[in-house]
């Protein structure tokens, strides 16, 4: 699968990213990650926030690559996870875990299956790793998106 293939089957649309939107989303990623560590929240709530950061990282990487997800298509979370090896070079070993985190989120949202402490910790770990990979990729290949904009 390539990003072009995902475009052809309607899972992605072409998109020209702007510095303003990318920087707004980078701030949102930091906020999600910080909120995911707030003591006193349930495992489920912290997991949701860490998972949100995963999605936001995947989204920014996709935008920078010139695409955006078709959010009216069913399964756009799955599409976002699918793009990670293509946009940020996520290795298969981590991709398997990210896709499993997506399934945990579905099972929690739709059947009330609980989120255990270690699934929260793993989601947070994966989200942080994606943020690092994303920032490195933006700095190396899309520096214009990180510059001050007017």
């Amino acid at each position: 699968m390539t990003l072009q293939n995902l475009l052809r089957i309607g899972k992605l649309k072409p998109h020209a990213a702007t510095a303003a939107e990318v920087q707004r989303l980078l701030v949102a990623i930091e906020r999600s990650l910080a909120d995911a560590q707030v003591a006193g929240l349930s495992s489920e709530a912290r997991f949701d926030l860490a998972y949100k950061a995963v999605m936001q990282c995947a989204l920014v990487a996709t935008l920078a690559a010139g695409y955006r997800p078709s959010t009216h298509e069913p399964g756009h979370h799955q599409t976002m996870i699918q793009t990670l090896p293509l946009t940020l070079g996520v290795a298969n070993d981590d991709w398997i875990v990210l896709d499993a985190l997506r399934k945990q989120r579905n099972a929690n949202d739709y059947t009330g299956q609980p989120i255990a402490a270690d699934a929260v910790a793993e989601c947070l770990r994966q989200a942080r790793a994606l943020r690092e990979a994303l920032l490195a990729r933006l700095a190396a290949e899309h520096a214009q998106l990180l510059r001050q904009h007017g």
Partner: protein, 209 residues
């Protein structure tokens, strides 16, 4: 060690029946059966014809191809599928995948629709893993089984104490798992009864306080 189903039915026969009876919605061509079971198409032709002759499989001609599927109207279909579910199917494949983590997994079992035998095409295999193993290592260990089982495997991984605490708290998930059917991968009903008894003792102490 060969599975119980392999020993009872022979390896090829148990795998063929597992591939078809545990997926009653799919009709497979002999080459697909060969890929799923690792048996040669030559020997499978004979095997499939024999099983159809016994009334366990239905033979269908689709254009110029011959497909086989489970005959769910067979009087022994439910019992045979149940036997395979516990041996040749899900249980053996998942148990084998968990072996490398066995020292960190106290109890592991399949729950939900697959354990109850009410699964449909597309149902995930829900697995509860209780012990000190981490979420990521469990997911990585179980990932390769998804192809063999032709189902997504969705593990819930937590410590024994975390699950016992949920039982004490009357958590809906823990209760439904405790009350529903289980297919054991590691550990067994005795261990689970012990966990539940421990929980009741804890709850009783809680009431006295």
């Amino acid at each position: 060690m060969p599975s119980l189903a392999d020993q009872l039915l022979g390896q090829t026969r148990s795998r063929v029946l597992g591939a078809l009876l545990l997926h009653p919605d799919s009709a497979l061509h002999v080459r697909e059966v060969a890929r799923l079971t690792g048996a040669s198409p030559g020997s499978l032709h004979r095997e499939l014809r024999a099983l159809a002759g016994m009334g366990l499989l239905v033979r269908q001609e689709v254009g110029r191809q011959v497909h086989y599927r489970a005959d769910t109207a067979s009087p022994v279909y439910a019992e045979l599928a149940g036997l395979l579910r516990k041996t040749a199917g899900v249980v053996d494949v998942l148990r084998e995948a968990l072996v490398p983590l066995a020292d960190r997994v106290g109890l592991a079992f399949v729950f939900g629709s697959v354990a109850a035998g009410t699964e449909r095409t597309g149902s995930d295999v829900d697995v509860l893993i209780l012990g000190s193993a981490g979420f990521a290592e469990v997911v990585r260990a179980l990932a390769p089984t998804q192809e063999a089982l032709r189902r997504e495997v969705n593990p819930t991984v937590m410590s024994i104490k975390a699950f016992a605490d949920k039982l004490v708290a009357g958590d809906g998930f823990a209760r439904s798992v405790a009350e529903g059917p289980r297919l054991w991968l590691l550990g067994g009903e005795d261990d689970f009864a012990e966990l539940a008894a421990h929980r009741e003792a804890q709850a009783a102490r809680g009431h006295r306080r």
